[in-house]
């Protein structure tokens, strides 16, 4: 479908719509013609019926006329008898002719025709003849009415009428059948028109939609891509979905866009290459303008830019060579000047150092002589202090001896206290044994009082007084026991206190003994010190003499150093002048070097 051309698409679309309409029209025409047929058949039946009615009418007219003549004998009644008979025959003939397509009906009507022809030509004639023959005789009508001719005629005509009635019935049945068919046809026609119409409309809309899609979709894609391309988007492409003219246009468009893009890219590449080369040249040249001559020019080639690059490269090489030479010369000058300046400075520094050294020596000498005199004074003081120390030490020795004596006394006293405490402890033990005895006595007394009480009780009334005494004795014994216990407790406390005192005294006397030993040691050391101090005095005298000799020597050194100092000062002055000249040379060389060094020549 997609590969059909637009023309074919349009032909197929509209052609199918026309075909559907044609089909509908054919169906409708067919139905119409069947309706028309049905109508014709209706009309035909109606005609047959009308003819049959006319035959009836004519036969009835003939009967009425004949009956009138028979009754009255008046000839006017039968004046048009022949004419009516002719009409009757004519109508029945027409009816026979009309029913030629229906054999049964035709047969019936032919029989009726034969009967009616006989009836009209024979029977009616005979009746009329017979009445005419009777004339004006009385009861002619009755005679005729009773005659067989009349009855025969009536039978024939009724048979004919019955036949015709049958035919009429048949025709009406056919008519009903046909009208029912026609109604059915009509309704089917209606349905066809409505259904077909809707089908046609729906199909047409579908086809139109499909057509629009097939044609308008690719067209809008094409338009959008064109506008993107127009807006500068060279990557715009169209998806080729069909093989028709639009598909072809899309393919061509895609090819055109590809070529356009390629052309643009080529142009851009050329421009970029040119710019890059110019940029490289510019970088190197601007570096050179800032003093950097180390840049290499990489742009070469046969074109204008390439030749320009090569020329610049040659120029830079020459310039670099020149500057290199200048820089080397400058450095050499600077180095020489610096060396000279350094040696001059060193000499100057040496001179200054010499001057300083001589000054220092001078001041040191002065200090030595002043120190010596101070030392002299100090030595005198020291001698006096040594004498004083000797006296103080001998005094301290005496004091220490006295202290030693006191300590000895204290030791003796402590020993005697200890002995007394021991005696006290022994006494306490004695008291303890006495207390034991007292306790025993109290116990015995207790038992004694108990027994006394028992005896008194046994003695009865006589021992009553004795019993009281016994109780009292027991009470006393108990009290004694309690007191003894108390004394025992106190004695125990006393004994523990005494032993604590003894221990304390032992510790105390031990400490005193140690102190005495220490005091003796101090005394011995003091004696040693005193001997040493007494030996010091003659040594001090020897020192004093040596110092006086030193002071005189220092004065002589000081004078010599003054002379040396003056000479050194003069040397320093001349060295300073030399240094100044070298400095100026150094500045000049530095200027040259700095102005050249703004150019970098080595990579």
């Amino acid at each position: 479908m997609n590969n059909l051309s637009i023309k074919n698409k349009l032909y197929i679309g509209f052609g199918s719509i026309v075909a559907i309409i044609l089909l509908l029209l054919i169906l409708a025409y067919n139905n119409f013609s069947r309706l028309t047929d049905a109508n014709n058949w209706d009309k035909h039946t109606m005609e047959v019926l009308i003819e049959l009615d006319r035959v009836n009418n004519a036969s009835l007219q003939i009967q009425v006329d004949t009956r009138g003549y028979i009754l009255t004998g008046n000839e006017t009644f039968i004046a048009s008898e022949r004419e009516n008979a002719e009409q009757l025959k004519q109508h029945i003939a027409k009816a026979v002719q009309l029913t030629a397509d229906n054999a049964q009906q035709n047969e019936r009507l032919k029989r009726a025709q034969a009967l009616l022809a006989t009836w009209a030509d024979v029977n009616i004639r005979r009746q009329i003849e017979k009445r005419r023959a009777l004339g004006d005789t009385k009861g002619a009508a009755d005679t005729l009415g009773q005659s067989s001719e009349l009855k025969e005629a009536a039978a024939i005509v009724s048979t004919a009428r019955e036949l015709m009635e049958q035919a009429g019935e048949e025709e009406r049945r056919l008519l009903a059948e046909r009208s029912a068919k026609s109604v059915e046809l009509h309704s089917s026609q209606n349905n066809l028109m409505i259904g077909g119409g809707i089908a046609v409309v729906v199909l047409s809309v579908l086809i139109a939609y499909a057509l629009a899609r097939a044609i308008l979709g690719p067209l809008s894609n094409l338009t959008a891509a064109l506008s993107r391309l127009g807006g500068g988007d060279e990557s715009a492409r169209i998806e080729v979905t069909s093989g028709d003219e639009l598909g072809k246009v899309s393919e061509d468009f895609n090819k055109m866009a590809v070529q356009l893009q390629a052309a643009t890219r080529r142009e851009l590449d050329l421009t970029n290459d040119l710019r890059r080369k110019v940029d490289a040249l510019l970088v190197t040249v601007s570096g050179a303008a800032n003093g950097d001559l180390t840049g290499k020019i990489t742009v070469t080639g046969e074109d204008a830019i390439g030749q320009l690059g090569e020329g610049l490269q040659r120029m830079f090489d020459n310039l670099r060579q020149l500057l290199n030479n200048v820089q080397k010369a400058g450095i050499q000058v600077t180095t020489s000047a610096t060396e000279i300046a350094a040696s001059a400075k060193q000499q100057e520094a040496t001179g200054v150092e010499q001057a300083q050294t001589s000054v220092e020596v001078l001041s040191t000498t002065k200090e030595i002589s002043s120190n010596t005199s101070q030392l002299l004074k100090t030595m005198e003081d020291a001698t006096a202090v040594a004498d004083f120390t000797t006296n103080a030490t001998s005094e301290a020795q005496g004091n220490l001896r006295r202290m030693d004596q006191t300590m000895q006394n204290m030791v003796n006293a402590t020993d005697s206290i200890n002995a007394k405490l021991a005696a006290l402890s022994e006494k306490a033990s004695n008291i303890n044994s006495v207390l034991t005895t007292i306790t025993k006595v109290a116990d015995q007394t207790n038992i004694l009082s108990l027994n006394a009480a028992i005896e008194a009780e046994k003695a009865g009334e006589a021992g009553r007084g004795f019993s009281v005494v016994a109780t009292e004795i027991r009470r006393l014994a108990d009290q004694t026991s309690v007191s003894t216990w108390d004394i025992e407790q106190m004695l125990k406390e006393m004994q523990s206190a005494v032993s604590a005192s003894v221990m304390g005294m032992d510790k105390f006397s031990e400490e005193i003994r140690r102190s005495v030993g220490e005091v003796r040691q101090v005394t011995d050391q003091l004696s040693g010190v005193m001997d040493q101090v007494q030996k010091l005095a003659p040594q001090f005298d020897a020192v004093l003499q040596g110092m006086q000799a030193q002071a005189v020597g220092a004065q002589q050194i000081s004078e010599t150093m003054m002379q040396l100092n003056d000479a050194t000062q003069q040397t320093v002055e001349s060295l300073k002048a030399t240094s100044e000249a070298v400095h100026q040379l150094q500045y000049a060389a530095g200027d040259l070097q700095s102005s050249v060094s703004t150019f970098a020549v080595n990579a």
Binding site: T439, D443, Q444, N446, I447, L450, N451, A453, I454, E455, E457, K458, T471, R474
Partner: protein, 152 residues
């Protein structure tokens, strides 16, 4: 009636004074081998050997402790055959003679041991009388006072 009050454990008991001969301090007793536990030993009473019963022990308690007021009470023991023997009783905490009025005495109501008699209350608590004659069971009595030995 007057009683000699002593202690068995924490409780106070009384010996009727008419049965007490005298009170002695705790003497050195001679031990009697193979004798029952309740017999503390044999003492010399003016030349006559006299058995000593430990009151604490015979009441089912521990042996009497030897305090300073633990005594030996010499009592008259009347045997069922009418003979009177001297019997030593070791008692703890012999406190002295107390007067107990006969109206205050009442039966204890509990018959634990045959020698424990009536009880009387006073300010310090209750005192139970000890019947010396019921103190020895028949077997012990037979061993302590055999029939052929005459009492001193």
């Amino acid at each position: 009636m007057k009683v000699l009050v002593f202690h068995i454990g924490p409780d106070r008991y009384g010996l009727p004074l008419r049965q007490v001969r005298r009170v002695l301090p705790l003497l050195e007793l001679k031990g009697i081998p193979l004798a029952p536990d309740s017999v503390a030993g044999l003492m010399n009473l003016h030349g006559a050997p006299t058995p000593v019963i430990d009151l604490s022990r015979i009441s089912g308690g521990a042996p009497s402790r030897q305090h300073f007021d633990t005594r030996i009470v010499v009592a008259d023991y009347t045997a069922p055959d009418g003979k009177v023997h001297a019997l030593g009783l070791m008692a703890e905490r012999v406190q002295g003679v107390h007067d107990v009025s006969t109206q205050e005495l009442a039966p204890s109501g509990v018959q634990a041991a045959p020698f424990l008699g009536q009880v009387a209350g006073d300010a310090k608590g209750m005192v139970q009388l000890v019947e010396v004659n019921d103190l020895l069971p028949a077997e012990l009595r037979a061993r302590l006072f055999p029939a052929e030995v005459e009492a001193g």
